[in-house]
Symmetry: C2
Amino acid sequence: MSPVTDLPPPERQPPDRLLLGPGPSPVHPRVLAAQARGLTGHLDPWFAEAVDEVAAMLRVVLRTANPLTFAVSGTGSAGVETAVVNLVEPGDTVIVGVNGVFGGRLADMARRAGAQVVTLEQPWGRVIPPEQVEQAVREHPEARFVALVHAETSTGAHQPLRDVGELLAATDTLLVVDSVTGLAGVPLETDAWHLDVVVSGTQKCLSVPPGLAPITFGPRAEAVLAARTTPVASWYLDVSAVRRYWGAERAYHHTAPISALLGLHEGLRLVLEEGLESRWARHAEVGRLFQEHLGDRDAVLLAEDGHRLPQLTAFAWPEHVDEGALRRRLLTEHGIEVGGGLGAFAGQAWRVGLMGEGATHANVDRLLDAVDELLEG
Amino acid sequence: MSPVTDLPPPERQPPDRLLLGPGPSPVHPRVLAAQARGLTGHLDPWFAEAVDEVAAMLRVVLRTANPLTFAVSGTGSAGVETAVVNLVEPGDTVIVGVNGVFGGRLADMARRAGAQVVTLEQPWGRVIPPEQVEQAVREHPEARFVALVHAETSTGAHQPLRDVGELLAATDTLLVVDSVTGLAGVPLETDAWHLDVVVSGTQKCLSVPPGLAPITFGPRAEAVLAARTTPVASWYLDVSAVRRYWGAERAYHHTAPISALLGLHEGLRLVLEEGLESRWARHAEVGRLFQEHLGDRDAVLLAEDGHRLPQLTAFAWPEHVDEGALRRRLLTEHGIEVGGGLGAFAGQAWRVGLMGEGATHANVDRLLDAVDELLEG
């Protein structure tokens, strides 16, 4: 080992960025400050109270009374995998709506967990109609769950859940919802809509840095967990053990990510200060405004009309626009991040997130002004 | 939902704690400040450079040239599980040294991954002798790997690795090392000792908050990954996908925990500024001093003589001492956290960590003074 390579690189000071991509979203200074507080132990009585408050605030934001509500010690994808590996036993049938990247990812996770996966396919940008779910459950009454992506971050499609929830509540099949990009940005009613499991991430409409995944399991999901006859394939994500830390027992499983949880605590406080319904309304208004202005620029929205997320807009530029070059200049010359298209939409589309702290009229103006300047220049 | 429950709790200001338990260890203010910096996107070219620097610094600290060196987006246990689930295919034989909680945990993870687990047992506090490994590998030449815990956090035992590394290098069986509590506290030479996979955590001798798990895979381990014929059971921990983010391709897999990685970047800079060998020497000196002083207080060290970690000391108090009451008073009256015993040692033992920023003469004095005052009071 040469001594030269042992010298540390200089301190890293991030450039100033306005984060209007598909996540992470802009983080409030109060959340950043909370992450810089001194640590206590993860079993400290003081920290236990903070963790209980995080769970209580998550219940408010998820609109649920479910006792089994906590944050997985990983990013949103780890949360989705937690739902899948805890509910699936090898050989189980599961039904997964696939109309974008994240439905496909969920199906992949379920296959790895040993499930027989029935996919409900729709073209990218469309949602899964309740009738398609109804028919699949009629054909596969043995299915352990139906999984749907509430907010498809690859397309901007906004999946309706209420009818599917009612439909499945009358069967033995659970409804699992990936709301990584949905939570706190559009209405979501875990209990009222009969959603058995809901998973989210922190770095979208909650405006907290990535690293934790809020999750809740309702009574029917708890019964499935209790009835398992095989061990959960993952030790780290095994809810039967993790819940003993998040419960009164406060038993050691793994060391909780302390700074990240303090950041989430402060981020949830901000959501509750604003009020959940006000936050939904703000996202709806700002997103609608942006999408209207896009129409004036000959951009084509990729999600079908009537099922568009306000907080995440995927759209295709007219053919003469070099989206990659435009996106890079937007970042380097204006300090604004937006996302490129995923999968079939790569090279044609942008994904713009107006999520959490990012969902403001001022940000819409700043983004459109910068884009107009670059397009004209 | 009652409106009362929607009110946020007050802001959380952690009490001042001196963290001398089994982790987390005290965090340098520079690391906390790094976690409070504004975010860039996880695909931002600026962040890509920061991530490359993290990997480069991890190679220095792990003493390796392995290209496949990165930080898992989860705590130390997620890192250990990453090693296990990526190397094991169902039906594989693996050999696991079990002389404390963390060897047992590793065996559990391997069983969940479908392995046939051969355990090498030793009483808690002892290490696994190389001859025991040698015999097991002779009996099970088909074993995919031998896994040993470098620093058993439940007992304070310091597992020798060099002889085992040489022994296994001449076979087809890999050596997997759980060095969650070892890395940067005691010597560890990934390449020189022929360690095929080494996993660690951030919240021990690196003195960075919990949430990331450094890991490295050597060429023989890479060959095993490449030869897999079944998918890795975990999508989130699948190295074949995660490595595409940590490599030049910078492909999206999951959203990297940005703030935590910026904290790790600064923490690794501090380690390199001190120098790895100086850091080992500091841990050795401070830990030895503490263990000497413990002898004066009739405490019995649990790890066998000659195989004691300096950074983590497990010891039993004389029978007349109520360890639980003493520990609680130490926390509430002196603001010092130490750990209780795990498993067989619960209710009799303490675990004291003098790790990273915590490994100072002043902390030894402060701890012993406080304990003496409480014992006399």
